[in-house]
Symmetry: C2
């Protein structure tokens, strides 16, 4: 099918997932929606997160996408089930691929870091224990990691101190693998790995999700047919002042075909 893959996120963090999908499936067109006018979602209520998620899916459906990827851990944790019950289109989250990869490491004790809403939902724990009930899951919310990543404070002394504060309990628990349960966190991989110890395997949901998208396209026979690919399109509910710089850092390439969209109108 030549329709695009729809990807949405609370903001621009989901561009790290788009980057991996483009890398793995360069022939597929991506239509992205980032709700930058209302970002972040991670400290907001389930009710509000659900409302915003439904609006994003309805927008992507209006663009006639063939599949929807929730490139946001918070929305995947809170809203995936009700979205799947409400819309007749394949919907993938970042959470199940991340959980599967965590179990595949063979670690008997797995740490999960994410936003408050993600950790509070317990969704990673449920997804991991559905695959292997013997695995012990320890969650920890790291609310300052998102602003640090957006500020590009990736290796500063303050960032190290904050990482220690968040990760020391996981280190003491001697986890074998750590799920980076927020799309911003891969940017902080070096400081996270250094703090938690290089023996702990870091699970990057973005990479795992791209693999899951490929496998879903194959099994549903939805892959791109022959012919030229249409350009990727990026819709944002706000174009923040520093978007050019931040967006490029997250996507790994310059962003063309950028449009502003008032989703609440």
């Amino acid at each position: 099918m030549n329709q695009a893959i729809g990807v949405f996120d609370s903001g621009i963090g989901g561009l790290t997932v788009v980057r991996e999908i483009i890398h793995r499936l360069p022939e597929e067109q991506i239509i992205y929606f980032g709700d930058t006018a209302r970002v972040p979602y991670g400290s907001k209520s389930r009710e509000t997160i659900n409302k915003f998620a439904f609006e994003s899916v309805r927008f992507l459906l209006s663009r006639r996408v063939k599949m929807i990827v929730i490139a946001c851990n918070t929305v995947s944790a809170v809203s995936l089930e009700s979205l799947r019950q409400s819309f007749h289109i394949p919907i993938l989250g970042v959470l199940e691929p991340g959980a599967a990869a965590a179990v595949a490491t063979g670690a008997q004790r797995v740490g999960v870091i994410g936003t408050e809403a993600t950790i509070k939902s317990g969704a990673y724990e449920r997804a991991i224990r559905r695959l292997d009930p013997k695995v012990e899951v320890i969650g920890r919310s790291c609310p300052l990691f998102v602003p640090l990543a957006e500020e590009n404070w990736l290796l500063r002394p303050a960032t190290r101190l904050i990482a220690e504060e968040y990760l020391d309990p996981l280190k003491e628990a001697e986890i074998g693998a750590l799920v980076l349960g927020c799309t911003h966190y891969p940017l902080l991989k070096p400081v996270i790995s250094e703090t938690i110890g290089h023996k702990v395997i870091l699970v990057d949901s973005a990479v795992e999700t791209a693999l899951a998208v490929q496998s879903a396209l194959d099994s549903l026979n939805l892959g791109k047919e022959e012919g030229e690919r249409a350009p990727h399109r990026f819709y944002l509910s706000d174009i923040p002042p520093r978007f050019g710089e931040i967006g490029q850092r997250f996507l790994g390439e310059a962003i063309d075909h950028l449009m502003k969209l008032s989703i609440d109108d």
Copy 2:
């Protein structure tokens, strides 16, 4: 007049302004709107900030308030002028009272810290130099201060390091006064004062704004008449999970009469 004073903010930071108004004008009823579903504004575009500000004012007008206080530096910096041109009701921002207080300190070099949108707007600099063109104004955006205040990381080592990074250029410039140009920053007063040096006078817009509200009520003859005060009302576009704890910390007392409001419906 027995109508309420309407106060709005991008979220809950404006409760620090409400606290000062209640303290100074205990007989006045407050109707507060906090746009917690779309907070923060400080990293968003002028266009989006204006749109949100107009929606907030329209909501408060529907509650028949007699005066509107913008308890948000970002909105005061970006939208005050266009709001005043569009609505026929007295509108006060936090910026002019803060600027006047900074000039009143007699400092010849004044620092201003705030969100990206506030600092980028140059509004504090214009307001201060309109009062005294000889004053030199040095602005600095401190994007990590808001999440630190919301996390209640007020005196941790990481907070000190971040404060040094932000404030060292202002310290080197030997400012005589520093405007806390964001309603979250008063919570960080101890670490800010310690970092910048106790000789530098900190200007807290919340206190100055409460004084300006009192003076405007008097001069416009809008003060409360005799009779019992109606209870304060707090409307939020999202009730975040930790609102009880955070809201109380900002307001300084428990919040009764709290209601959720979908402003974009």
